[in-house]
Amino acid sequence: MTIHFRNETFRNDFTYANSPGNIPRFPFPFPEDVYMYSTNVEPHHATRAGSPFEHAFDVDEHYVSEMKDRALVLADDPGRCQALPHMETAAWDFVELVMVSKARDYPDLFELTIDGDRWHWINKTLQIDDTFVFGDSSTLPCHPMEYIGRQVQGDHAILDQRDGNLWMDAGIITAQADWSLDFDIGMNFFEWHAPVPLAHELGVFQRALKFLLSLPQGQPSRRLNWTLTVNPRLDTSPENYPKWGPDKLTVNPGNIGEKVHLRVELQTFWRLPRSNAILFPIRTYLMAMNEVVTQPKWGRRLHRVMRDLRPELVEYKGLSRYHPMLVDWLAQFDDGAPTSPGIFPD
């Protein structure tokens, strides 16, 4: 399998797009015609060749450009990558998991040679060829979490486990849907989710925490989460809200298909072996409405989901300014026909 890596931007001129072959492999987040919160967790097994669930850490055509965007964010705001002092062992666990997984799943792109604690890592795509001593951070150019975080798509939080809770004690977060690592670092599971409406009352977080606390090694899990973003912008951080907030006013019925993007997070959960921490990758996929509706099932379903979305969620997800316009626009793709179960296109 050869991936043609696109050269594209997630800011300013926004040249990001999905090539036609990439569209059907989008992780469409709605298995049914209605949406409400659920603890929709399933085992992160290899599923469907070609899908984003085939490998532990999916590499797609946006890899190189996403890593360039991450470098821009980190240069501008180093606070997007932070680890409390006790998280170094967990960071090395993260290095190991990514390197071992990628070298196994994409042998054409990544090579790992292990000789005791001497590791040799080659990332052909990003032209990285490094030898280091595993566990010795002084043999890497930067903190191990930052080192590997700059080579893997998606944001990564590392959650320490103690006192029957999970603690957001480290992360490299440059493509977030409106939350601040710098503010939330050190919080427990309930605290960092505190601003989410409805879900606490539904017991979603209590159940999710219980599940995560007993997550076994070697049995990762996954779930999908979603929101909408105007323009294919990865960095929708609260820090930069004054930069992306005004984008919402630029949506009109003529441009809504290209402006509004379905933003899907493939969240996975991995128990780490040395630290007993949990690695929490949040991998973001962006797809313009025009691209989504090329799959008739997705067009029909998205219309129904958006039309019936609860007002609290419209507000919380920040969709208020263009939500009615979007529902009207999507209606043209909904002929009322039944849709097949599951997320994959027909």
């Binding site: 503010f183 505190a194 820090e239 004054p242």
Partner: protein, 203 residues
Amino acid sequence: MSESLIEESILSRPKYGQLAIAPGLAHYFVADASGAECVIRVAQTAPKGFMEKVHILYVPTPGENALITALYALGAKRFEHVPTIDAAIAKLGDWLSESKMGSQLYLAGTEGLIGRAVAKGEECGLDHTAVQCEHRGSLARRVQCVHCKTMIEKVTTQPVKCPSCDLLLLVRDHYSRRLAAFQGVCINAEDPTEEVEIREVFK
């Protein structure tokens, strides 16, 4: 002075109780003028010999002397008053760094004082079960501007203008113990021309 009037809120927002003596080898109290009465209440109901293990740090309102006198009269092993919360937090760090296992920390007064003392206690390795807080006085908030990271003290309005980057900030209930601050996020980022009325709400 009234008891705390903090309404039910989201889960990251701290909740406060009432100070009560817990078993410990040393007892550290930090209070500002609104919290002084709590320290006095605890001391007055304490068993014999308790005050010999008590250390009190007090931040008075400028010009006020009566509470200093009252706190001094409690007969603590150590009593100091300092002019600012900053000074109190620095001193608390010194005290805790020489404290032994089994110390208890009691905090009383405004949220700005409590929040920063909690963060200092955590930094000094004090277990959270050894820290008690009782809120008294103003509901003024300490706010971090999420955009330029400036800390804004004693915020009483909603929204508040960031003195550093000039953005108009919505003061959220989302609270960071580590920063001892509420989060401030631009309230009119989507449409900067939007006029927003500034109202006094955290009294």
